[in-house]
Point group: C2
Chain length 143, copies 2
DNA sequence: TAAGTATTGAAAATTTATCGCAAATAGCCC
DNA sequence: GGGCTATTTGCGATAAATTTTCAATACTTA
């Protein structure tokens, strides 16, 4: 899984696969890196933030970039109960976490568990897959 | 999590919350109960199966029923990599399983892990949530 | 069995995400 | 640094998935 990405590290990783570092990609990654722990953004959320920052990035590019960064393992795609995908930075071990979601009110609680990442790594390894992300999602109803 | 639902058990569970047992809901649950292990259906898939069975259930009702049964904890909603939601029966312990998904080719492998369900139950309990479902999704790239 | 409310079907509307194409630009080589 | 080429962007159009509206129908309960 990923470590912390400086712009140049991002560039290296992109170029290694024939992709390019663009200002749009850099800005989007920066936003996720500066997002407070526990926050996550949908494509629309992100687009609005960018407009607020006077960074004019089209919605298409937002979608394309989110997909790309998730496929690189830099972002993780969350499927919470909101009906659309959310994204957050895919952080390595000590910050790696999972989600407990109330399907009624959509409230989401983060929690950590070292054993889950172990199970995930082991499974991926067993089948020879390259691990990108590993997330436990608990659907439940809050009191 | 759920046990096996007979039509009358389904009726009881529905009525307890002011909902009704309809032939549509009964047929849809039956289809999932007879689905071979490892299969899962999208709303469209299910609708096609129903048409094939000469069960004329509208697509709206299919969507509504899938959502309802998932919220009751009878079905689980899977977010694999296909771009639309899939559903399967939410089975208790010995059949409870998780998914390893290749984000490139969409191939999905099921695997079991008793420890994950334990982690999930513990977390839900800790916050006083009523557990509906608990699934580990591993995103990875196949060889 | 009748009353009252939940549910259904059909079509329209929304929401979410992708695509095609021309213009812009990052990376690379000299 | 300037030019070449392939990648990326923005825009609008489009597609796909899901929800909503509303009148008609059908469960439940008393």
């Amino acid at each position: 899984m990923n470590t912390l990405y400086s712009p140049s590290a991002l560039k290296a990783e992109l170029n290694a696969k024939g992709w390019r570092l663009t200002p749009q990609r850099e800005v989007i990654l920066k936003i996720f890196q500066e997002l407070p722990q526990g926050n996550h953004l949908s494509a629309e959320d992100l687009h609005e933030q960018l407009v607020g920052l006077e960074q004019d990035i089209s919605l298409s590019t937002v979608y394309r970039t989110l997909k790309l960064l998730a496929r690189m393992g830099i972002l993780r795609q969350l499927e919470l109960a909101e009906g659309h995908k959310h994204y957050e930075l895919n952080q390595p071990y000590p910050n790696h976490h999972h989600h407990l979601v109330c399907v009624k009110c959509n409230k989401t609680i983060e929690f950590k568990s070292s054993s889950i990442l172990q199970v995930g790594s082991k499974q991926a390894q067993e089948y020879g897959y390259k691990l990108l992300d590993c997330q436990l999602t608990i659907h439940a109803i809050c009191p």
